[in-house]
C-alpha cells in the first residue's frame, strides 16, 4: 500500500497508511507515554495519557487507537497536550498510595517512570484513602488492589490470552475493581497462578510472592547445605535484568552469580529435564503398547496442571504421571544426592530459580514430599533472583564464565529447549525415535514443532508406528485442543501443553517488559544453546545414565514411581 503524508509536530513525514498515531510517532522517534497499551493486547484507550492534538478535531484523541489519515496534522507537544497529560497523571496519583519507597516495583514501576519523565511536582487532588485488603492467599501471587490504576491489562491477559477469566472488571464509577468476584481472594476462585497478570501489571497491584528473604536466611545458616537448580528459560532471560538485550545467552555468568550469592551447589534443572524425558518417553511407549489412555499430555507446567484440575478434571487420566523437572530434582536432591554426598536430607535446602509463578504453588503441593519432607523448599522467579543480585551489588557484565556442579548439573541440549514451546516434544521425540527404531537420528531438529504459532502439529514415523504430536502454548490454545479431545475429535498420540505464551520463557515470573517479540528472541536463544551443546539427546546424559545404573535401576521402576511420579486431583 502507498505511504501517506502526515504532519507530526510541524514536520511533514511519510508513513504507512492505517497505522496508529502512536506507531507513527514512535517511528519518528517520539515516544508518547502509555499505561494501558500493550503490544500483545487489544487496544483499550482507557488511561488517556497518550492523547494528542489533531487539527480539525475538537477534543484530544488517544494516539494508541486513532489511525493516521492522509494530510492529518498532529501535535504531541503543545501546551494543551502537556497540561492535559500532566493533569491526568496527577489524577492517577491522587488515587494511588504514595508508598513508592517500599513498593516492590520501586525501580521498574511504569507509572513512576512516567511521573519522573513528566515532572509532576504537585498533586492538587485530594488523595484517596483506600481500604482494600491485600491478598496473600496463594503461594504464588500477591494482590494489592489499592495500587490498581484500572488499566485493564491483567483482565485482558486473563480473559483473552489465557481464556481463564478470574480477573474481571466489577462495579462502576469509582467503585470499579478489577478482581475476582464478590471480593474473593485468588485461592477461592479457579485461578491457575500462571502470573500472566503480574507480568503485564504496570504497577505493584499484582506481583509474585517475594521469597528472597527466605533464601537470604537459608544462605546465612551455617548448618544448611543450600543447593540451587535453575530452569532452562532463566539462562536466556536473566541478563535482561541487567540491561542486556533480550535473547542474551548468559549461562556461565548465571552460574557465577549464584556462586557469589553463596549457594553450596549450583545444579541445573536441565539435568532433571533429561530425566523427565526418560520417564515420560517410556511412559508414552508403555501406553501405546499396552492400550493406555491416549493422547498422553505433558505435565511439567504447574499452571497448566492446575487449569486441568479446575476446568477439565475428567481429562486428568490423559496427563503423564511424571512430575515436572523441578520436582523430580527436589526429590532426588534429598535422596540420591544426599546419599552420594554423605549429607543428611534434613540439612539440605533446595532452592529453584524459575521463570514461573505457579512453580511456587507446585513446590507446596502436599504430595510433593516423596523425599520425606518438602522436596523443593523455596522457589524464586527470575525477577527475584535479579533483585538479589542487585542487592549484592553484583555487576553482571563483569562476572566470569563458570560451570554447573556435578552430578546434578550435567545436561544435554534436549533439556535446554524445555523452556520453549515445542521443546519438550522435540526432546521427547529425539529419545523416543532412537529407542523405538534402534537407529541414530541424523537430523535432530524437529523444526515443525518450533515457533510462536498457537497450535502446532507434527507427525513422526517410528518404524511404522505413527506418532501424531500436538503442541499448544497459552491456555486459550490449550483449551482448543482439550475441546477436541472432549468431542472425540483428536487423533493425537502425544500432546505438549505449556501454560504460558511462548512456553516457559514467557512465564509469569520473567523480566518485566516481556512481549511476544521478546519471547521469540528468547526462544531462538534456547535453540542456539541446544545447538552448541556436545550432547543433544536426553538418553545420552551420562549423569542420568549413572542415576539409573546406581539408584533408580530402570525407567518407570518402583523407585521412579515413588520419587518421580505423582497424581492429580479434581478442583472443580
Amino acid at each position: 500500500m502507498q505511504n501517506i503524508n502526515i504532519t507530526l509536530n510541524g514536520k511533514v513525514t511519510a508513513v504507512a497508511p492505517e497505522i496508529t498515531i502512536l506507531e507513527a510517532a514512535r517511528q519518528q522517534g517520539i515516544d508518547l507515554p502509555t499505561l494501558c497499551h500493550h503490544p500483545d493486547q487489544r487496544v483499550k484507550a482507557n488511561c488517556r495519557i497518550c492523547v494528542v492534538e489533531v487539527e480539525g478535531v475538537k477534543n484530544l484523541v488517544p494516539s494508541c487507537s486513532t489511525r493516521v489519515t492522509a494530510g492529518m496534522n498532529i501535535t504531541t507537544n503543545s501546551p494543551r497536550v502537556r497540561e492535559t497529560v500532566r493533569t491526568i497523571l496527577e489524577l492517577i496519583f491522587a488515587d494511588h498510595p504514595q508508598e513508592c519507597l517500599t513498593c516492590i516495583r520501586n525501580g521498574n514501576c511504569e507509572l513512576r517512570q512516567i511521573a519522573a519523565k513528566f515532572g509532576v511536582r504537585d498533586i492538587q487532588g485530594e488523595k484517596r484513602k483506600h481500604s482494600f485488603s491485600q491478598d496473600f492467599s496463594t503461594p504464588s501471587l500477591v494482590r494489592n488492589p489499592d495500587k490498581c490504576i484500572k488499566c485493564g491489562r491483567c483482565a485482558e491477559a486473563c480473559h483473552y490470552i489465557q481464556n481463564v477469566g478470574i480477573l474481571y472488571s466489577h462495579n462502576r464509577s469509582t467503585e470499579i475493581s478489577i478482581s475476582p468476584e464478590y471480593g474473593k481472594q485468588l485461592a477461592d476462585v479457579a485461578c491457575v497462578l500462571c502470573g500472566q497478570c503480574a507480568l503485564v501489571c504496570p504497577v505493584g497491584a499484582i506481583h509474585e510472592r517475594d521469597d528472597t528473604d527466605r533464601v537470604w536466611e537459608a544462605l546465612a545458616d551455617p548448618q544448611k547445605h543450600v543447593v540451587v537448580q535453575v530452569a532452562p528459560a532463566v539462562r536466556v532471560s536473566l541478563a535482561e535484568e541487567f540491561g542486556f538485550p533480550s535473547g542474551e545467552i548468559a549461562t556461565g555468568k548465571l552460574v557465577s552469580a549464584l556462586r557469589s550469592l553463596g549457594f553450596d551447589r549450583i545444579f541445573d534443572t536441565d539435568f532433571s529435564a533429561d530425566l523427565t524425558i526418560m520417564e515420560e518417553g517410556h511412559e508414552l511407549l508403555d501406553r501405546i503398547a499396552n492400550g493406555g489412555v491416549l493422547p498422553m499430555i505433558t505435565s511439567c507446567s504447574p499452571g497448566w496442571i492446575k487449569y486441568m484440575e479446575h476446568y477439565y478434571p475428567e481429562l486428568i487420566p490423559h496427563l503423564s504421571t511424571c512430575k515436572s523437572p523441578q520436582q523430580m530434582f527436589g526429590a532426588l536432591a534429598k535422596t540420591y544426592y544426599a546419599q552420594t554426598s554423605g549429607l543428611e536430607a534434613k540439612d539440605i535446602i533446595v532452592v529453584s530459580v524459575m521463570p514461573c509463578t505457579a512453580k511456587k504453588f507446585e513446590a507446596e503441593r502436599p504430595e510433593m514430599d516423596a523425599s520425606g519432607s518438602q522436596d523443593v523448599d523455596i522457589v524464586l522467579t527470575t525477577r527475584e533472583l535479579g533483585r538479589m543480585l542487585q542487592h549484592e551489588g553484583i555487576d553482571f557484565r563483569m562476572l566470569p564464565e563458570a560451570e554447573f556442579d556435578s552430578p546434578l548439573g550435567i545436561s544435554t541440549g534436549a533439556a535446554a529447549i524445555f523452556g520453549a514451546t515445542g521443546g519438550v516434544m522435540e526432546a521427547a521425540l529425539r529419545t523416543v525415535y532412537e529407542v523405538v527404531t534402534g537407529k541414530t537420528l541424523t537430523d535432530l531438529n524437529f523444526t515443525t514443532v518450533r515457533g510462536m504459532t498457537g497450535v502446532k502439529e507434527a507427525s513422526v514415523d517410528l518404524a511404522g508406528m505413527e506418532v501424531k504430536a500436538g503442541i499448544a502454548h497459552g491456555l486459550a490454545n490449550a483449551k482448543k485442543i482439550l475441546e477436541m479431545i472432549k468431542a472425540g475429535q483428536s487423533d493425537y498420540t502425544f500432546i505438549e501443553i505449556m501454560c504460558c505464551p511462548g512456553g516457559c520463557i514467557g512465564g509469569g515470573g520473567q523480566p518485566y517488559g516481556t512481549t511476544n517479540e521478546i519471547r521469540a528472541r528468547r526462544i531462538e536463544a534456547l535453540y542456539q544453546v541446544d545447538e552448541n551443546m556436545p550432547l543433544r539427546k536426553s538418553h545420552e546424559n551420562p549423569a542420568v545414565q549413572e542415576l539409573y545404573q546406581d539408584f533408580l535401576l530402570e525407567p518407570l521402576g518402583e523407585l521412579s514411581h515413588r520419587l518421580l511420579h505423582t497424581q492429580y486431583c479434581s478442583r472443580s
Binding site: A45, L60, S65, T87, L91, S169
Partner: protein, 428 residues
C-alpha cells in the same frame, strides 16, 4: 398543550390520552407505512432527507444521512435499535411518546427499518419505565397480530422482528456503543469509534440507532410530505421539538414547540413564566449534559444553528428553570454527583476527574474551598472535557465548563479566601 397552530402537529400528545391502534389508524396511522412500502426505500428516504429531520437524542445528526450510511454497506444482515433509554435528567418526552402514542413510534421504527434494510430490531427501554415497557410489549404484539409488524408486513414481503429489551439502571446505556454492549448482554461500557454503529454495530453488523422522538417523527413526514413538515420550524431546523419543561415555572409539562421560538418565549408562553414574585436566575438547557445559561441568553432561538453559535446544547430538549432563590453551585453539585454515579469508571479523566470535581464542589458549598481550588477545578474540567473516552465525560466536562464560564463569580464568592484582606495566590 398545542398553543401554536390549529393544524395537526407532529405528535399531538395529550396527557392522559392513550392512543390505541384503532384510533391511530383512524387518524391516518399506518398509512405512511403503506405508502413507504409501496414507493420503496429510496423514495421514502428522499422524503426524510428533504424534510431535514435530525436526531432528537442529542447529537442532532441528519437522520437520512445515517440511513444512507447503512444502505452503503454490502452486509445484508442489519439491525435497527430504538434508543428508549431516556436518562437525561429533566427529560420525559420519550416516556410520553411510548405511553401515549406507541403506535406512532412503532410505525416510525418500521419505516426506518424498511429504509435501512434492517430485518431485526430492538427497542431498548430503561428499567425505570416499567409502564412504557408494558405498553410497548402489548403494542408490539397487537401490531404483529394486525400485520403491521413481523413477517410480510402488509403483504409487502418486508419483515421486521422487533423485540423489547430492558435496561438495568445505567444512564450511559443511552450512548449508542454502550447501548449495543448492553443488548449484547454485557456491561454498558462504551466502545471505540470508529468503527461507527452504521458500519459495525450490534454483533458487528451495520446498525441504525435512533432516539424515540426521531423515529416518531417519520410517519408524519411520509404521510404528509417533507414540505408540510418544513412548514414548521426554521430552514435550518425544520419541524417541532418536544420540550420537557420543569423547575421554577408556573406550568411544568411536555410541550410540542416549533423550532425558531426563543427560549424566553417558550418559558413564558408554555411555562407561564417564573413563579409569582420571582425572577429567573439561570436556565439549564439540555439536562445535566447541557449548559446553564443566564437570562440574557434566553433570547436565543431554539434552533440548532443559532444555539451552536452561542454554545447552547439543545440536547434532549429539557429546559429546567432556576429562579433567584436557587444556588448555582448546588445545581452544579447535583449534576456532578449524577455524572460520577453514572460514569462507567473505565477512563481516568472521567472517573478520577469527576471524583475530584465532586470533592471541590463539596468543599465550595461547605465554605472550605480556596481560590486555588477553582483554578484546579477549571484545569480538571478541561481534562475531563478534552480527554474522556466517551460522550459522558465530554458532556460532564462541557457542562462544568459552561457553569464556570458564566458563573465564575459565584464560585469565587464561595471561597473562604475571597475576602480582600487575603493576598491573591499565584494560580498554577
Amino acid at each position: 398543550m398545542n398553543k401554536m397552530l390549529d393544524d395537526d402537529q407532529i405528535f399531538n400528545i395529550s396527557p392522559g390520552r392513550h392512543v390505541d391502534l384503532d384510533h391511530h389508524c383512524q387518524n391516518g396511522g399506518y398509512s405512511a407505512l403503506a405508502k413507504a412500502l409501496a414507493q420503496g426505500p429510496e423514495t421514502s428516504l428522499k422524503e426524510i432527507s428533504d424534510a431535514g429531520l435530525r436526531g432528537r437524542g442529542g447529537a442532532a445528526f441528519p437522520t437520512a444521512e445515517k440511513i444512507k450510511m447503512l444502505r452503503a454497506n454490502t452486509e445484508k444482515l442489519r439491525y435497527i435499535i430504538c434508543n428508549a433509554d431516556e436518562g437525561e435528567p429533566g427529560t420525559f418526552k420519550d416516556r410520553f411518546i411510548m405511553t401515549h402514542i406507541p403506535f406512532q413510534l412503532l410505525e416510525g421504527i418500521t419505516i426506518a427499518a424498511f429504509m435501512a434494510g434492517a430485518s431485526e430490531g430492538y427497542i431498548y427501554v430503561r428499567h425505570e419505565y416499567p409502564e412504557a415497557q408494558k405498553i410497548l410489549r402489548e403494542s408490539i404484539e397487537e401490531a404483529e397480530r394486525r400485520g403491521f409488524l413481523g413477517e410480510n408486513i402488509l403483504g409487502s414481503g418486508f419483515s421486521l422482528s422487533l423485540k423489547l429489551f430492558s435496561g438495568a439502571g445505567s444512564y450511559l446505556c443511552g450512548e449508542e456503543t454502550a447501548l449495543i454492549s448492553s443488548i449484547e448482554g454485557k456491561k454498558g461500557r462504551p466502545r471505540l469509534k470508529p468503527p461507527y454503529p452504521t458500519q459495525a454495530g450490534l454483533w458487528q453488523k451495520p446498525t441504525l440507532i435512533n432516539n424515540v422522538e426521531t423515529l416518531a417523527n417519520i410517519p408524519k413526514i411520509i404521510e404528509k410530505s417533507a414540505s408540510w413538515y418544513r412548514s414548521f420550524g426554521t430552514p435550518d431546523s425544520p419541524g417541532t421539538k418536544l420540550i420537557s419543561l420543569s423547575g421554577d415555572v408556573q406550568n411544568r409539562g411536555l410541550f410540542e414547540v416549533p423550532f425558531g421560538m426563543t427560549f424566553a418565549e417558550i418559558i413564558s408562553e408554555y411555562g407561564g413564566g417564573a413563579k409569582t414574585g420571582k425572577a429567573i436566575k439561570a436556565v439549564n438547557i439540555g439536562g445535566a449534559s447541557g449548559v446553564l445559561i443566564p437570562p440574557e441568553m434566553l433570547f436565543t432561538p431554539l434552533e440548532y444553528l443559532a444555539c451552536s453559535k452561542t454554545g447552547i446544547t439543545i440536547g434532549s430538549g429539557a429546559i429546567f428553570v432556576l429562579d433567584d432563590t436557587r444556588s448555582i453551585l448546588s445545581n452544579v453539585q447535583n449534576r456532578l454527583r449524577f455524572f460520577l454515579h453514572e460514569s462507567c469508571g473505565k477512563c481516568t479523566p472521567c472517573r478520577e476527574g469527576l471524583r475530584q470535581a465532586n470533592l471541590i464542589l463539596d468543599r465550595l458549598l461547605a465554605g472550605e474551598a480556596v481560590r486555588q481550588d477553582v483554578s484546579t477545578l477549571e484545569r480538571y474540567t478541561r481534562a475531563i472535557q478534552e480527554a474522556s473516552f466517551c460522550g459522558l465525560g465530554q458532556a460532564a466536562g462541557n457542562s462544568l465548563r459552561s457553569s464556570l464560564a458564566y458563573y465564575r463569580d459565584e464560585y469565587l464568592a464561595s471561597c473562604r479566601d475571597n475576602k480582600p484582606s487575603f493576598i491573591e495566590e499565584e494560580t498554577a
